[in-house]
């Protein structure tokens, strides 16, 4: 009896959460609806499903190119932030850095800087360095939020790795670099994965910088392409829905397949005082 009530309760909560995600499912359904049935409601369900909108988006829009741009910019941003961030995090956690407290405070404060305030100087900087409409420009701009995030997360994860392990490795004759590579890095792998996933996600979702610093499909990312999705005489709702689904792919993968890492990063970022 009690058990059944528990099951019922769990089921109801899940139904509620499915309903919560309805805006997304509705868009997914819209992306599969035949063109003629889009602007008619009711009926809720289409008479048949079609891949026509996806065909249009994949063959005749800049979406594929935008996905390549987003993927490239996101991956390189993540790699750059991890490479530079790992060294910095290690130094902050394990070595003496002059002015450490002040620098850390500055890095944390940096995460609160509004993009709308830094976008105009960065725009002038990109123009001066001729980095407008390039991957490199976006990667550098994204580093402004990616680096503080990575340093913050990794310094936290590092502090959970016992110092004794490094000392033991040193006693065994391993140098600093070898200890870092063979002892610390493997232990931090889950933390690094979390930081990488969050960085990639934020980079994939970033809009203001990408919208401002890009001009053509050479560097336009997915959110920009979606925002500028062309409609000639009327809004192509079905095509937009299909493009939205494509733009949602990485978040979906993270949420379904790599939830543990995503949660770990998300919570660690917020909970560490």
């Amino acid at each position: 009896m009690r058990r059944e009530r528990g099951l019922l309760r769990d089921g109801l909560v899940l139904v509620g959460l499915v309903a919560y995600a309805l805006p997304f499912f509705w868009q997914a359904l819209t992306s599969l609806k035949p063109e003629a049935e889009l602007m008619v409601l009711p009926p809720l369900l289409p008479s048949r499903l079609t891949g026509e909108h996806y065909r249009v988006v994949l063959e005749r829009s800049v979406m594929v190119r935008a996905m390549v741009n987003s993927l490239g910019v996101g991956a390189i941003t993540t790699a750059l932030a991890l490479t530079l961030g790992l060294g910095a995090a290690y130094a902050f956690a394990r070595r003496t850095v002059p002015g450490k407290r002040f620098l850390l405070l500055l890095i944390v404060a940096g995460t609160a800087f509004p993009q709308i305030a830094t976008v105009s100087p960065l725009y002038l900087l990109m123009r001066a360095l001729e980095l407008r409409d390039t991957w490199l420009g976006l990667i550098l701009a994204n580093a402004s939020f990616a680096l503080p995030l990575v340093i913050w997360l990794l310094a936290g994860f590092l502090s959970e790795v016992p110092v004794q392990l490094e000392e033991a490795a040193a006693v065994d004759g391993a140098g600093r670099l070898r200890t870092f590579w063979w002892v610390i890095l493997p232990l931090m792998a889950p933390g690094i994965a979390s930081a990488a996933l969050l960085t990639f996600l934020f980079s994939w979702n970033e809009f203001l910088f990408a919208y401002t610093f890009t001009a053509t499909e050479a560097s336009r990312t997915v959110p920009v392409a979606l925002a500028l999705f062309p409609g000639v005489f009327e809004v192509p709702w079905g095509d937009i829905a299909a493009a939205s689904m494509l733009a949602s792919l990485p978040p979906l993968v993270l949420v379904i397949g790599l939830q543990r890492f995503l949660l770990r990063g998300l919570l660690a970022g917020a909970l560490r005082e």
């Binding site: 805006p23 900087l125 939205s244 909970l271």
Partner: protein, 288 residues
């Protein structure tokens, strides 16, 4: 252990990251203040120092004050709703035995989508002719994003949808950390569910809620993508936040100086709120 020149090595490791951050964060943050003191219209080659004139203009600019008002309303109501809903969802999920992973995935989905996608989702839901919202309201003919009284609530709803999960997951993490013995002890002492909630659960969530409020307030003040795409600040400026006004000035009317001044105002607002909260959190920390 190899003495790698202890002090120097630390600095060498930090230096590359700091150099990049200096270029893309610290330097722009200072430069924008300098820009805000200028009259700067790039396409006409205009670039002159004019002190506080942009700020003086903003002080009597009705559009600025309207944007400030919209930003404030948006922030207070969004964050308030997210907090209440987030806590409720966390309480519901805290006792979940089966399907917790699926439940969290459904929640995280809304949080992880790009804001531009969320904007497109809601634009379609709010469609006056074929939108699901009007259909669910029994065939209402409401023009959600075109009506000055409905656009801001519509925008806030979309924002709450995408950010409430963050609050819920923070609270859930806290709730699952509360030892079962505490609840057991409360039950033995004869406390009912309401008393347990008010005396044990909520006080223990106080700190995490404060942290959630800090993060969410900062994000709401800075928010741009969602309103820029969903309503573009319209209709009649009823959803134009400071960020949208700043962007329009910067890149649409091309008054780089004025736009920067609005950016600086947002900047100051965010820093002020962060400082205030951190002080409050500090006091909490000492009290706890």
């Amino acid at each position: 252990m190899k003495p790698l020149a202890a002090r120097g090595a630390g600095l060498v490791l930090v230096a590359p990251a700091l150099a990049v951050l200096a270029a893309v964060t610290a330097f722009p943050a200072l430069w924008v203040i300098w820009l805000s003191f200028q009259r700067r219209i790039p396409i006409f080659g205009i670039e002159q120092f004019e002190g506080l004139r942009n700020y003086a203009f903003l002080a009597t600019d009705p559009r600025f004050w309207s944007a400030a008002r919209v930003t404030l309303i948006f922030t207070v109501i969004s964050v308030g709703l997210e907090l209440v809903l987030g806590l409720l969802v966390a309480l519901a999920l805290a006792g979940q035995r089966r399907g917790l992973r699926v439940g969290i995935a459904l929640l995280l989905l809304a949080w992880a989508l790009p804001a531009v996608v969320t904007a497109k989702l809601f634009e379609w839901l709010y469609n006056p002719a074929a939108g699901l919202v009007n259909y669910l309201l029994g065939g209402a003919q409401l023009n959600w994003l075109g009506d000055p009284t409905l656009a801001l609530p519509g925008l806030i709803l979309a924002d709450v949808w995408r950010t409430m999960p963050f609050v819920a997951l923070l609270c859930l993490a806290r709730l699952r950390g509360i030892p079962a013995e505490l609840y057991e002890a409360a039950r033995v002492d004869g406390a009912g569910p309401v008393a347990t909630l008010l005396r044990i659960t909520l006080p223990l969530c106080r700190q995490i809620l404060l942290i959630a409020v800090l993060f969410r307030t900062l994000d709401a003040l800075r928010a741009f993508d969602l309103m820029f795409i969903l309503t573009g600040g319209g209709p009649a400026g009823t959803t134009e936040t400071l960020t949208v006004y700043a962007y329009r000035s910067l890149f649409q009317t091309l008054h780089l100086g004025l736009g920067s001044a609005i950016g600086v105002v947002v900047f100051a607002l965010v820093m002020l709120v962060a400082w205030g909260y951190l002080r409050a959190l500090g006091r909490e920390g000492i009290a706890a």
